[in-house]
Point group: C2
């Protein structure tokens, strides 16, 4: 495989997903850090050379650039046990990865970013007005995950997949966004199973 | 393949994606309509039997249910030319599908829903306060698409893929959300290429 470089902000769960996938697969990956709070992913150089969408993470593979955290995980995990080959199970892994980006991350990761890194006092009025809706939607996502995990160990099938990695990234730090994980017993047990996987690395 | 049933609201671009994928692949698909404005996807029966997330579309495959529009498209298109087999190109298709669900749909589809179906006068204050941010983010997404399509015919590689289908669904009706497509010449030409594909079906 070409040399792998992760363009990241180490505080970002979306970036951590890619590091965790690489670690579980034993793939070496170089890291380049950017500070999103300082606008380092919105510079003309970044937009022209790394990602025109001005976001991290971006996985660089040789001279090619791949934005979107879950797409980068997919690239790394191609032909590995983290992506099932069964047609329904493979689509079902993507189902949870799209759920993560649509129903989970915009609520749980955004509240962590706003409350833990930006600070509640520094939020715009427009952001403040969204906190309660994101709180409710984030709790709904955690409740749905907890119900799904009742009676099963992993999100899809009977082994860890990219669905688990994608959902783990922001779930395991959800308390920094004001979510109470202790109420979600199945989620808690599943978090512990992931942290026990061979090759597991912590977020920071 | 097992019998396919699409649980949908016919006004939803996310549902249309699945119908368009099936049509381009020549797969017959049965349709069951729900009215999201009447809460028909939040009933106890729907939550228990179709999707605990209370959303359409859901693709039913025999007795199994697959939520998330892009995951359903992936299921249908497995082993077809709509998903490239090259490792980077396949991940790059997913990159655009995640871009669609994260940076495009929450802005462009939501404004269409709010302004065209709910009606501006019926929006909550919290929704009203988000209109301008969604307008800007939606225009950013369209500008990024237009720049990407300059000098190329399709989003990934040199043939249509699921990336094109996913992005087409809400782009081609973006004007119902107040976006002006005539300003995006490359997007307009790409929309016309998709509408000319053999097997193409319209949204309504």
């Amino acid at each position: 495989m070409d040399n792998l470089i992760l363009h990241e902000d180490p505080r970002s769960g979306n970036c951590y997903k890619i590091r965790l996938t690489a670690a579980l697969l034993g793939l070496p990956i170089e890291r380049r850090a950017y500070d999103i709070l300082q606008g380092e992913t919105r510079t003309p150089e970044f937009l022209a050379n790394v990602n025109p969408n001005g976001r991290i993470p971006v996985l660089q593979i040789g001279k090619r650039f791949l934005p979107e955290s879950n797409a980068a995980c997919w690239y790394l995990a191609t032909d590995s046990a983290l992506i099932p080959t069964d047609r329904f199970e493979q689509a079902n892994v993507l189902r949870w990865m799209f759920f993560e980006q649509y129903s989970h991350e915009p609520n749980i990761a955004t509240l962590r970013f706003w409350l833990h890194f930006v600070g509640e006092a520094n939020l715009s009025r427009q952001q403040q007005s969204q906190v309660m809706a994101k709180r409710i939607a984030g709790e709904d996502a955690l409740a749905l995950m907890d119900a799904h995990l009742a009676g099963r160990e992993w999100f899809v099938g009977d082994a860890p997949t990219l669905a688990d990695i994608a959902l783990y990234a922001y779930t395991h730090v959800a308390e920094a966004g004001g979510f109470r994980l202790a109420d979600r017993a199945h989620v808690m047990a599943w978090l512990a199973r992931i942290a026990a996987l061979p090759g597991y690395v912590t977020m920071e």
